[in-house]
Symmetry: C2
Subunit: 301 residues, 2 copies
């Protein structure tokens, strides 16, 4: 088992200036695993309710994602309703129904205990820590988190941060966590909490990777339209960790390539609602957009 994702599986209802959807498949583990499946074998640990049917499992199966760790329990699947207006950089949550997610305790199947690469999607920090501790053979683990845990559970978050190699975090949350406005200083402060690599996601402005050896920025691919930003961060993580797991190379040069793949995959995610575009990709499209980002940033020394 190479790459494991722990996180949410949800039904999302989303309104953007371009349209509206009702209860489509979403959640951090979904966006991450569908994306990473273009790079390597990926397994998911998550929880769903009785309303999560064969047709939903089929989406994962279509991408050869191992769902042995997806527990199906009595009750309804996690639901999220949100809206994007104006500059679409910020989701406005209209409704959250945690449902079966409220009592989620990740259970790692024995077959996954040799996992080398781990993505801890945005769940309760104490649960992230339990998962991290259960996996002794990791080469790299990456963590996502959010404002809610940064403000509400700083001690639990500090514990799990001390155990991971990589933190993927958005700009506003990096500032909140570090209490530093300047992103360079924010990343330096966060590194002292544990991660050797801090990737600050900046939405339409791309991402900045603060690695052990150097700093690297990658722009967002320029799209004609952003239809739905939901899941873009988890999709970035899927491209980033997918490439690291595929290559087994944690060098500075390869961390940079991984960040570019993160940006590439994020750009596909926002072209449609849900994971639709991510399911319909081809390896050629991924490589072509990688080259376009190269062309977008290249200049002669």
């Amino acid at each position: 088992m190479l790459l494991l994702a722990v996180g949410s599986i949800a039904f999302d209802s989303i309104r953007t200036p371009y349209g509206e959807t009702e209860e489509i498949l979403g959640g951090s583990a979904t966006f991450f695993s569908v994306t990473a499946s273009w790079f390597t074998s990926v397994s998911v640990v998550a929880v769903v309710g009785e309303d999560f049917g064969e047709q939903h499992f089929q989406v994962f199966r279509e991408r050869s994602i191992d769902t042995a760790g997806v527990e199906r329990v009595p009750g309804r699947t996690f639901r999220w309703k949100g809206e994007y207006t104006g500059d679409m950089n910020q989701a406005h949550t209209l409704e959250t129904q945690l449902n079966v997610f409220e009592n989620f305790v990740p259970k790692i199947p024995a077959a996954y205990l040799d996992t080398q690469y781990l993505f801890l999607g945005n769940i309760l920090p104490a649960l992230q820590l339990n998962v991290r501790r259960a996996l002794p053979n990791l080469r790299a683990s990456a963590l996502d988190t959010m404002n809610y845990w940064i403000q509400g559970m700083p001690e639990d978050l500090a514990k799990v941060l001390a155990t991971v190699e990589i933190l993927l975090i958005n700009e506003g949350e990096a500032r909140m966590l570090s209490k530093q406005h300047n992103l360079k200083k924010a990343a330096e402060k966060i590194k002292k909490l544990g991660p050797r690599v801090v990737v600050i996601k900046r939405g339409e402005h791309g991402a900045t990777l603060f690695g052990p050896e150097s700093i690297f920025t990658v722009p967002a691919y320029l799209l004609d339209e952003v239809y739905d930003p939901t899941g873009a961060g988890d999709t970035f993580a899927g491209g980033f960790m997918g490439h690291l797991a595929r290559t087994g190379d944690l060098s500075d040069a390869n961390l940079r390539r991984a960040a570019v793949y993160g940006s590439v995959m994020g750009s596909f995610a926002v072209e449609e609602f849900g994971v639709g575009r991510l399911l319909r990709l081809t390896p050629g499209e991924i490589e072509s957009r990688y080259r376009e980002i190269k062309n977008l940033t290249h200049f002669d020394a």
Copy 2:
């Protein structure tokens, strides 16, 4: 005569979270010409009042900037008072005293009529147009403008836009001018108004160059502190046009290099109040930061 700048010379009073200054030398023509002087010979057309003394002219002389086109007239020099708070991306104007700038009519000395490269700093669009029309031998002219003219004088602005090769504009103003939120669409729409090259400045997020052949993004250099963003846009323009004038090369590859020099010079401008840091540069520092931006963006294909 190679590169000519037309714009304002001002005394700025600025408050930022890092400190406060009173009536220091500023204005678009000042930031532009001091910056461009590191690349090529530059001349300035502007107006100052009787309070503009020998010690102020000395700043230009120190950088071998030709001030034969700087008219000194009865009255007081243009004064601007502004403040930056919070994320420092936006100046809050506290006071504007146009003084002699109110009746500024740029006069081009005969010796400048063979000018090949022109920067039209942010002044009344009708005046920009007069200057543009007076110079028949231009290889490239670049225009800056602002929200005030976009909203208040759209017809005059359209006339001058139709005559220039390059527009340098910030993100918010590009959206206002094009009535498009998406920056790619905004640039495409602006290109139909005249300029072959549109450079959208995005402050701490860098800049995007929409050239005749390709799109290029350059990040902002990551600083530990931004002391004062005043003049960063004109400084970017000074590096950009300075490099183009120095090389005489308007190719796609060289427009990219010019944008990197713009970003490099902008990063120096914000390290101190006013033009202090820009006066104290060395060519080695400029080249070193150019290489650092290369390292910040390079990845293997």
